[in-house]
Symmetry: D3
């Protein structure tokens, strides 16, 4: 089974973090291939960046999806996810979606813990877009600056654990998600210090991509996720244009 | 007052329809300037197209917003609207949003009536993204093909009126929105044949853009719609890149 | 265009505040006519007072609506609004409704900031009656007494600005509404001290009344806002009785 | 125990129907006293009428509540109910509220079945104002005219039973409420022909008023239902004015 | 009228508390019979205990319901309530349900105040299962241990009153429910110290059981609470088995 | 990895169907062990049966969970699931939950298609208990009797496919779940005849159990799913009693 791990951010350091968490989670026989965004933002954090970054994710998928059994859009707000499900025939999993659905099986309400204030509103809209607001205990965000986004999980480890514990004690969270691609892999390091299940977003995404691929469901030809009708397009990258106008 | 009417579709014919409805609605002293998307889709109708078309809308605004007092994103699903509100200092109105909020002042529940089955799911998600699902009586869509998207309002006028009347009688709609840019201007022609208020999406958008511009509210420097923090970007059109990295 | 500004409170001082905010907001060619309630309460603040004050608003409209293109019920809880929409052929705008819908176009969630604890529950029910609870960041109310309701905006200006800033910082409000008729006109004075858009309720109501009047929508003859069927009434003021029994 | 049965409609015939259903439901030792509205509408059926009729209900309560242990506002949309709870020290029960809460103990979802199309929207808003929309299976309304509102339950008995059975079969209602004051007492006559529990609105209201009165709870002096602060009023009937300005 | 008061806990001391609150609330002519669970938990406090305790409640009802006009499941989370409504022909009232519905008639939002942290999640799910989350101001729980569950209301009386007052002041509760079977009867002792109505869960349940029994509604033979279809069962207590396989 | 497949029904034939769907879905290295309920109902279909069947599931888990890495409660309404998550240290997956969460990754709204009218209400409450009502397109149930519950999927195959296609065409379902343990394994046989992804509940449950087990999350010692505090119990099967009173 071949799974494409698509980082819609332009930071190679984040891709490395993602793969560091993904590889140990993969089953025997699963091959993971990483891809870093060729254009866009070092780290998507706002609605405007997600609008553009999601379009970049579609371009990347259009160019590279061939030969894969599933793909993961590996940014916590799931940029471009729903469009990708229309356009492509393989299952596409969002990293936020996978983490949240996994958390739903481990408790009643999950907390999202992340490393920057700026991310809260986008994550909140992501939770709502998946219809999971009723399962959310709250979003907790670190205040203050950090030296490097790719290493923020090392720099802020203690503070993030404190925040997770506050989410458990004050927000009645049953499960904690350490959210944002730069935190991939942190769950395993800190889980002994947090008294509820801690979900690693990237590991969850790998398991869900494996699950969907192995279920061999068909691509919809009806319903709201069928392929868009063919139409002329102007000014799109060639591979992407072909998805709309084969 | 100068208002930019931004058509995120590539069809000049649709822009003409939009302006045909916009101009009579404008107040004395309002100047409307139309802009047609230079790249993208002839008519946005799916999540994938909205993802890309919304990014195109941001590019267009970045290049052309200077000197305007407000802008209208003139496609019914409001592609790129929330990102635009982060990036730009002038008020930006979505055509769907303007039509729905106007409808809220004319009754309890509004119906959305449109000309193609494919548009329903996107419109539904648009309604939900604005938090207005509780005010929606239902979405009614014509079945069948049409000769030309720019002239569909002429070709299907009778059927659209029938559909609107069904929405009133069967769905208990208090107000009807004739939705989708190609239907701009139709409301006025048919309103005598529908027994509840009929909102023209483009006229509503012009009035709301005028209202917001005249209220002279400030651009947020806090809250979730403040400008994104400056950051290096790769591979974006120059004007858009400058909005992120001034 | 002639717009009736109906103050359902009996305080002439509040009417003066309302007009002080309304006149600068009006477009060239808009004539505003003010009306103060001849009976009722100096300031509506509870459900019981709104029940009675709303009935008074209907009496006032029945007697005075002729010759107007639109009317504004200028109390923040919108007393009598939905009944007025059934009874009269011109558009009727609620001041709370206009402020909230305008706020929806300027951010995700709005805060309501007001000058007295007693107003909170009524405003909360008003928000819910419009189906906008999902867009509300919270209601913040000043504690403590004030010297005169008509001048409370001068006496408490600093405290109200502080409260608005707390709503932004602690409740994540994207927009602030300074609510309650006695605060009409305050937004303009303080907007430089609050880092998000501040909506003036009366200015918003004027713009929405102008917008609705210029859209020239028809009065519903079907749906839930059609005119009530004629019936004999007992003991109502003559003009109001005629609306029910022409 | 003395309970005031307040008919906010002006029809004595409806009061008679209400008492016909109320008296057999009363416990030994419960005295019921009926009151018919001295002004207003023969039968409240719209938002405008409820606005005015609710104010009339407050006038009636102000003049007559002394010496009673509880009061019932005996119109299905509960006009004036929430204001009455602020103003008066005795428990006040709404007939719709009592019927719906009783239905909640007899099944999951209840249907509201009534005799006129015009009543649907008002009842829908009543259900929502009580926060019970999630328990509503639907509202079914008879079409067509009737000879006399006071006798509509005799004239339409068969059709109402048919409608109730449709609500059970097609809307999956677990319980049926025959709604609208003119239908008081009908439940008992038809319950053998409907395969789920049928709640009589008036009987339910009597039992709930007895229950509340016997629980001897105190009048709130805090919270949102405390008595409104004293204030000068203008032009209200004397007894009502005294409730606001003792 | 004979009402069965079923305590699904195994503590006789709690049954005594329940009957201490129930007897003064009963009308003349109402006979109350208490039953303590023969197997299960001294005090149900978790989902797992409610799963088992609810099954025990069904066993108890199957064995003892004959000759009663109504039954009360007298634990605050209403274990087994919905199943009981399917299986038995007499009305069955949940103690939490009765308290909450009664509270709905005394204000807008009610607070649940209880004596142990462990109970919060179960009570929250109980509120949601009744569709009443929109009416809940919040759940307040005492911290710390107590000497004896049967006497916790004496030991913690002051702290519980403080908590109730906090719910009124900080959570804007209009009504307080002192929740959990061990607190039965406390409301009457403390109501003068809490400025809003305080509902006694057991007294409320007695009044609602009396109300339902006196309304003489029929057992559903359609809808989702009709009796389950007959089927072979294995390994159930004999009386319970007969309810499924008569 | 060892996974316990727990059938809370007493029908061995259903267990065989479940294992027939489970085994092909299991990864290399996954060992599945089936268990059929020793007491209870041949097929759980009502709230009362789920109350008891869920308690039986807890008994079964208490006796047999040792040595397993995860367990599946293999009935569509997930009887006993939330209690099991409190009591046991291994992940426990509900078959309905697994199917619904998997469906969420394959579209916007899923339809539940099942073989008997009686199952609808229980499934509806199951969807709501998971907070997924917003993702449900509808529940479609076959009418009419069947010869044998274990073979109903063969007998009704055509009708179930028709029903699934209706759910796609009329309810706008993006995904179909063939629900109810007796339908396990049917998805694969019919998926070519349904134009959207069809989720096999049992296969989905196996993949989710594998995913959770491989993520190696810890058992909560805080939050609402921590183990219940130790307490004396009466009359429970010995293994179950020990889970509560070690």
């Amino acid at each position: 089974m071949r799974i494409l791990v698509l980082n819609p951010n332009t930071s190679q350091g984040i891709t490395d973090r993602l793969m560091g968490a993904a590889l140990p989670a993969a089953a025997a026989g699963t091959e993971l291939v990483a891809l870093t965004a060729p254009r866009g933002f070092p780290y998507i954090a706002t609605r405007a960046e997600a609008q553009i970054g999601g379009a970049v994710a579609l371009e990347m998928l259009a160019e590279h999806h061939a030969g894969f059994d599933a793909a993961i859009i590996a940014a916590f707000g799931d940029p471009g996810l729903f469009g990708a499900r229309e356009l492509f025939d393989i299952p596409v999993v969002g990293m936020a979606e996978a983490a949240m659905l996994t958390a739903c099986m481990l408790g009643r309400r999950f907390a999202i813990v992340t490393f920057a204030q700026a991310l809260g509103p986008w994550y909140q809209e992501c939770v709502e877009s998946h219809g999971l607001a009723g399962r959310l205990a709250g979003i907790r965000m670190l205040e203050g600056r950090f030296a490097s986004v790719a290493d923020v999980q090392d720099e802020k480890e203690e503070l993030l654990v404190d925040l997770a514990n506050k989410a458990v004690q004050e927000d009645e969270a049953d499960v904690v998600i350490l959210a944002g691609a730069p935190l991939a892999g942190l769950a395993d390091k800190v889980k002994a210090r947090i008294p509820v299940p801690v979900v690693d977003q990237m590991a969850a995404a790998v398991k869900q991509a494996e699950a969907l691929a192995s279920l061999r469901v068909r691509k919809a030809t009806a319903g709201t996720f069928r392929r868009p009708a063919a139409k002329p397009v102007i000014g799109l990258p060639e591979a992407l244009a072909r998805r709309f106008n084969p």
